[in-house]
């Protein structure tokens, strides 16, 4: 029988969180969106950033991955500083994470295979044939075998999103960020995406950071959540979403997690 430790990949059994965010402050055009945001994400954890519309979920994500520059605070990935680091160091760290954008954000002039292959061409020394093989594998893993030569405009929105996920996974990243992955998907496609995300985590021990307000998926996938609030401009709750739904004394948290019905959304789903 194989050694158990090799079942956990690629996250190493080394100590320390996958992500450390400390005192992050961000905003646009002189307006503060978030202030003093501090939290950690453990390796292999499925971590959700939740909250109502306009509370700064996507802003936080964009500041974490370096698409926007935080005004203050630090972000560290796998123990290495990311925000404020020099360009070479940031570029090296980009290999550690992948991101699935809300729309899939596939490059429309490239086929699905070329979309997945591009990060591999940029960051590995694999041969062209090997890159093609890996790209085909990643597409097969998200259920797009046979669609390798299609362009993004030839396939549906759900397929675009799955192809975006294949691209995010191209470099076997230790951390994958998802920005509203269920937006615009029908319930069946959403549940398939849930299964895919679960499979990625089981197969690769990947740390998942997901921005969403899709309650079914939050209760189905999240180990831990932080909830942001527009008025508070920061975190108002942190923990297991099921426990928060049951026992949080904060009316805003209860209302959000109960879909405003007074009953926890996960219990209404099961009934």
């Amino acid at each position: 029988m194989a050694d158990d430790k090799t079942d956990i990949i690629p996250a190493k059994a080394t100590p320390g969180p996958a992500i450390e965010v400390d005192g992050l402050e961000c905003g646009y055009d002189g307006e503060d969106i978030l202030k003093g945001v501090t939290f950690q994400v453990a390796r292999g954890e499925s971590f959700f950033i939740i909250g109502g519309s306009g509370c700064g979920k996507s802003t936080l994500l964009r500041n974490m991955v370096g698409l926007n520059q935080p005004r203050q605070g630090t972000v560290r990935f796998l123990g290495q500083p990311f925000s404020g680091a020099d360009i070479a160091s940031r570029r090296a760290q980009l290999r550690n994470f992948g991101m699935l954008f809300q729309s899939g954000a596939l490059w429309s002039s490239l086929t699905l295979r070329q979309n997945v292959a591009l990060p591999l061409e940029e960051h590995t020394s694999l041969t062209r044939a090997e890159i093609g093989q890996v790209a085909d594998l990643k597409l097969a893993q998200v259920g797009l075998a046979g669609f390798e030569d299609y362009y993004p405009s030839d396939i549906s929105g759900g397929m675009n999103k799955r192809a975006g996920l294949a691209r995010a996974l191209a470099l076997d990243p230790a951390i994958v960020f998802f920005d509203e992955p269920w937006a615009g998907l029908d319930p069946i496609t959403s549940r398939r995406l849930d299964a895919l995300i679960r499979q990625i985590r089981e197969n690769f021990g990947t740390t998942l950071v997901i921005v969403s307000h899709e309650l079914d998926s939050i209760f189905g996938l999240a180990d831990r959540v932080i909830m942001l609030d527009r008025e508070a401009r920061g975190i108002i709750a942190e923990g297991d979403p099921r426990k928060l739904a049951e026992s949080s004394t904060d009316e805003r948290v209860r209302e959000f997690l109960h879909r405003g019905t007074g009953e926890p959304a996960h219990s209404t789903k099961q009934s």
Binding site: T6, D7, I9, E130, D136, A145, G146, P152, D154
Partner: protein, 373 residues
Amino acid sequence: MSVPPEPARAAIRTEGGQLEVDLGGEWRISDRRPAWAEVLGAQKPGRVRFNAAELESWDTSLLLFLLEASTDCRKSGIDCDLASLPGKMRTLLDQFEASLNPGEKRDHRDNLLTSVGLATAHASTNLRGIFHFVGECVLSVARFPKRAGKFRWGDCLDQMQECGAMSLPIVSLISFLVGLTLAYQAAVELRQFGADIFVADIVGLSTVREMGPMMAAVILAGRTGAAFAATIGNMKANEEIDALEVVGLSPIDFLVLPRLLALGLMMPLLTLYANCVGILGGMVVAGGILQIPASAYWIETQSSIDLTDLGVGVIKATTFGLLIGLSGCLRGLQAERSAAGVGRATTSAVVTAILLIVVADSLYAVLFHAMGI
């Protein structure tokens, strides 16, 4: 201080007549990994067994290695034992092999005959689309008196500023340089015959009748026509055009007509301005090279140009303006809903506009000749 990763390794040893491959270290797709051919070397084993006990971490790069090894073993008739590898690893390897041999390949590429057929159908649809669009524009103009109160004058004024006032610097520069070049070319020839003063006639007539409207049109095709196509194409990609139709607004009334009107009004004005700047360019060369006084140049220019010539230029300019507006808006509305589609629409708008401008100019040349003006 972080510990540097232990590199991926695959060590071999012979045990009980079979080759044992001990996999170890950290296998990362972005790092170098051992190649199976190098690991095997000159060995010709009957059986190979892989062990993963010393493996620190792994990803797709290990799957690539195992795939390479198992494929080579199969070809060489070597028994490849993967049973001692973790179940998850074997499952992913099976998935990898399956992905390289998909049962049914969805080939959506077309053969030559289909491509020709589709291109013909596309050309026919495109032509119908052009007629439909022009028809819609005519109907929109016909509706205009009834709904003049609802016309978006604000948008129209914005467009007039954008395509008119904002184009002045580039129109000035290009027209001045064209006038300068024309005068210089004419001066070289005319000087040999002592007919220096006729530089003013050549520059004046060719600028007012031909180069003024043509250069202004080419500049606006590249500047404004492309902007129309990109803006409307992006609006289409964002479903803004659909939203207009759903609330009962005609995209032609809302988007196209203000732009057409703006270009139709601004092009003649820009052309008159371009004419003046072009003549000024010629005057600079005449004064500098031929030592013709500015007053003599101006009197000669006035004598060579009459209102008919100016009218010809203005008629052409108005037509060119409408053609640029129609091309930009049509290509924008026809754009595919993607970034590449908007890019293609923009290119197509400029190419279509310039093509139509040249064709219209040729037709006008024949027409004005036939009319004797």
